[in-house]
Structure formats: C-alpha cells, structure tokens
C-alpha cells in the first residue's frame, strides 16, 4: 500500500539572515504516514514540528530530499491537504458561514450550493445558528470549530494540524479532541497532528513520532498506540495501558526535551 505522505531524507535549511549562520531545521527526515492513519508528532519546543507540516502543505520547499504524496513526488501547494493552524486563521471580515464556504468559492462551486454545504458543515461542528457571526463575536473554541469545518468541507485526503487546540482551556480542548476523533472515524483521512502535549498525542493517534531537539531535528522514535477505538480522550487517560505508553514515550523524549531547553537557554543568554 502506498503511503499518503512519505518523507524521503528531507532536509530543510533556512537561508541565513543578515549576520547569522544558516539554520538547519530538519535533517534527513524519513517518515511515512499511511492512508487513513492518525499520526502525532511530538517534540521539544522549537524542534521544527511546524516546519515538517509546512513541507507537506507545500508552503515551504525542502532543501534536499523528496516528499511523496500518494506515491508521487510533490512540489508546490498540496491540493490534497487541509491545514489547521495554531493561531486564528479565519478571515476576520467574513462571517462564520462565509469563512467555511471560502474554499468552495475558490473552486468555483455555485453560491447556493456552497452555502447549503457550509450550513451543513457548521451544523456538524455544532455551530448551527451562528452562521452570520463574525470571528471576533465567536469564542476561541467556536473559532476552532469554524476552522475545522472550513478545512473539512473541502474533503482533503490529508489533514495537517498544527497544535490546533493549544490555545483552548482544558475542558473545551477535550471536547474538541473527541469531536475531531468522531469526525475522523466517520471518514478516515490521513492526519498529521503536531503537538507538544504527549497526552493529547497518545489519546488521539494510531502512532506517535518523537522528534529530536533542533537544530537538525529528525525522528528518534516511533510508538504504535494500540488503544482501542472509539476512544474518549478524557477517560482513556486513566487506563493502565495509556499510562504505560505515556511512561515509555516520555522516557525517550525526556533527554531531548532537556537538550532543547538547554539550547534555547543558551541562545537567549548569548
């Protein structure tokens, strides 16, 4: 079976800014994400997790190596991928409904049809009745739901999620995680989920990939998560199997987290 996304020795080096040395964010990353697989990538702060996603999205070009999408070498914006950003990415001048339908409009879908599907998707993420509100009138959680609908309405084969729920409070966050799992299991897509929260990673994914501290970050461990589905992210955290997994992965990460922390501190001090 071909992988949905495959990194083949991908290296990303950022051109030097005035006076600074070039910075290698990712070095020789080889990683495959299967069709319909939910993979989380965890790693210390500043290790290049977002860079990894931006490569798949086509927002960044790799310096060396190859990215294959469903077996084919890929360049340019990835039209098969949907991207959910960490920060608020809704267009503030469009209503919730207009934000959700934007992607359809870009693809030339007729207005009435787009609005019908937009309403449907807003209802599916629990925002029926909020169609005509502007982003600033919505709460943080509601904005995330809108962003989720905005991405899913285009039916992308690959979902890229960059710490999408990190700005939410813990209750809203678990609610959103459960809803994401529900939507995902109804129609299994490949998901690359970036997070720094190991618990979130384990409770959501089929597989957790641990990235080393940057610069020149690369995967240092992969852990298959064999917890049964459907899952409830709040309850599953209390099961012995979860705790065991958490311990194992945390052990392999700890060293890297400390290394990343030390590097960051040195950078600030120098």
């Amino acid at each position: 079976m071909t992988s949905a996304v495959e990194f083949d020795r991908v290296t990303v080096t950022f051109a030097p800014r005035a006076g600074a040395a070039p910075y290698t964010a990712l070095k020789d990353v080889s990683l495959a994400i299967g069709d319909g697989e939910f993979v989380s990538v965890v790693g210390p702060t500043g290790c290049g997790k977002s860079t990894l996603l931006n490569i798949v999205a086509g927002l960044l070009k790799s310096s060396a190596g190859q990215l294959r999408v469903f077996g084919e070498p890929h360049t340019g914006i990835n039209r098969r991928a949907g991207y959910m950003f960490q920060a608020d990415a809704l267009m503030p001048w469009r209503t919730a409904l207009a934000n959700v339908t934007a992607g359809l409009e870009f693809r030339g879908v007729a207005r009435d049809e787009a609005r019908r599907r937009g309403r449907d998707w807003l209802a599916r993420v629990g925002l029926a009745g909020f169609e005509d509100l502007y982003p600033h009138q919505l709460s943080g959680g509601m904005r995330k739901r809108t962003a989720l609908a905005q991405m899913l309405i285009l039916d992308p084969q690959i979902l890229l999620m960059d710490e999408p729920f990190s700005a939410l409070d813990i209750q809203t966050r678990q609610l959103m995680e459960n809803e994401l799992l529900e939507l995902w299991s109804a129609n299994r897509k490949s998901v690359v989920f970036i997070t720094h929260d190991l618990e979130e990673a384990i409770s959501l994914s089929d597989r957790v990939v641990v990235l080393s501290a940057g610069p020149a970050a690369h995967p240092i461990g992969e852990f298959a998560i064999d917890l049964p589905r459907p899952r409830d992210v709040a309850e599953i955290r209390l099961t012995p199997r979860f705790i065991e997994m958490h311990d194992r992965i945390w052990h392999s990460m700890k060293e890297e987290v400390l290394r990343g922390y030390a590097q960051n501190r040195n950078r600030v001090m120098s």
């Binding site: 990415a89 267009m91 469009r94 992607g103 870009f106 502007y134 009138q137 919505l138 991405m151």
Partner: protein, 267 residues
C-alpha cells in the same frame, strides 16, 4: 454632569457667543483697548450680525449653490484620491521592486507642501471645480496610500497561508484577503481623508474661483466685511461636522466585522 453633557456643551456655546457679542458691540461697554468704539467690531465682527448673514444666506437661498459646489469638490477629491491611493498602495505593497523604486519619490512628494501646487492646478485645470478637486486629490492620496501600503504589508501571514491552503490563486488572494484588509485601513483613515478633501476644496476656492464657500469668504475679505468672513467660517465648520458624522455612520456600517472596543457580544 456627564448625563446631560450636551446641555452643558450648548451652554458653553451660548456663553462664548454672548461674551463675543458683549466685547465687540460698539458703545456697549466702556472702551477697553481701543479709543474708537467701532474698532473691536471691525476686527472681530459681531455674532448677531454674523448670524444675520447666515440667516440671510439660507432664507434667500444664495448659499446653496456655493455649498453644493464645495460638496461636489470634496466628494470628487475624496473618491478619486482614495481610489488612486488604494490602487497604488496595493501595487507597491505587493511588489517589493516597485516599492523600492518609488520609495524616495513618494517620500519627496509627500514632504512637499502641496498647497503650493494650487496655482499650477489653476493653470492646468482652470478656475472651475477640477483645479480644486486636483488639490484635494493630492492631499487625500497620500493619507490613503500610506495606510493601504502599511495594511498590505501587515496582513496576517497565518490568514494568508490559510487562504492559500484553501485553494485561493493569486487573484483570489487579492480579492479575498488583500483588498478587504486594505479597505479596513482606508476606512480607519477616512475621517482624516475627508477632512483633507475638504481642505483642498476650500483652499482651492479661496485662491481663485467663481463659486463655493471659499469664494464667498475670499470676496467678503476683499470688502473688509468681517461678519461675512466669520459667517462663511461658521458655515464651513458646520458643514465639516455634518460630513464627519456621515463618515462615522458609513464606517460603522461597513466595518461591522471589526471588534468594537466595548463590545460584549461574545458567545
């Protein structure tokens, strides 16, 4: 006090005009500064007579054609100046090469006191409304231009990336992201821009024209008719306030998506 603020503001206005009248009216108070009792009223006018002139203007209807001309000039200068500013702002904001090329010229033209261009515009466009419109345009253009230019460069990269990932091409990006974002910046400069269009119109009229409120003021000044000069100034001030109010209304309607400072509608 705060609740009935407008009453106090009105009282203030009456006090100012009453004091003015008392100090300026000949032979009312013993002379304070000048021996000649008519001097004060010659230099400062008398509110009673000023309002008499205004009353005369509006009842006899002589003022309307002048106001209409000034309004036309202001509106045209605002619309043309804003459109040009928006177009150039978008262009230079999106093209680093053009921006680098034009940068020194824009700084230079902006630094130039543009009122001195009025005589040139008069030669080019004649004494009709277009020389005033041109002057207003040069004033409005830069305000809008700089706002849009700044606005385009400060479009949120996340919103931009998100829109790209949703499948927008370059033209759609312009229409869905850059233009709305730039428009909000145009509106934030709207009050200043309309004010500038107005300044351009009136100064242009004052420097040479056959109609407009600026022309009335200039005529009266030539005849040392200080009351009419003040009447013209008061009419202009009231006119500017009305314009500002209209702009405020338009702004509130068009920028509904922008969070207001005190909004508590969060759900």
């Amino acid at each position: 006090m705060r609740k009935h603020l407008w009453i106090w503001q009105l009282v203030m206005l009456v006090v100012i005009f009453t004091a003015w009248q008392l100090l300026a009216q000949p032979d009312l108070l013993p002379p304070l500064v000048w021996e000649n009792p008519n001097r004060a009223s010659f230099f400062f006018g008398e509110p009673v007579k000023i309002f008499g002139v205004i009353w005369e203007w509006f009842t006899a209807g002589a003022i309307y054609q002048h106001l209409w001309v000034t309004l036309q000039e202001t509106a045209l200068a605002f619309v043309i100046g804003s459109a040009l500013g928006l177009a150039f702002g978008l262009w230079l904001g999106l093209s680093p090469t053009a921006s680098a090329l034009f940068d020194p010229y824009i700084t230079a033209v902006n630094a130039m006191p543009r009122v001195v261009l009025a005589p040139i515009f008069m030669v080019w466009f004649g004494l009709g409304i277009w020389s005033k419109v041109a002057l207003g345009v040069t004033l409005v253009f830069f305000i809008v231009f700089f706002n849009v230019y700044q606005g385009v460069r400060e479009v949120s990269p996340v919103v931009l990336n998100n829109t790209v990932m949703l499948g927008a091409n370059r033209r759609q990006l312009l229409r869905y992201v850059y233009l709305p974002s730039a428009t909000s910046w145009v509106f934030s400069s709207l009050h200043t821009a309309v004010g500038m269009a107005f300044v351009g119109a009136v100064v242009g009229e004052y420097l040479g024209s056959a109609r407009g409120v600026g022309y009335l003021i200039q005529q009266a000044e030539g005849a040392f008719d200080i009351n009419t000069v003040f009447a013209g100034i008061l009419v202009l001030t009231a006119f500017a306030l009305v314009l500002d109010f209209a702009v405020g209304r338009a702004e509130r309607r068009l920028l509904v998506w922008r969070p207001a400072q005190s909004e508590t509608e969060q759900l």
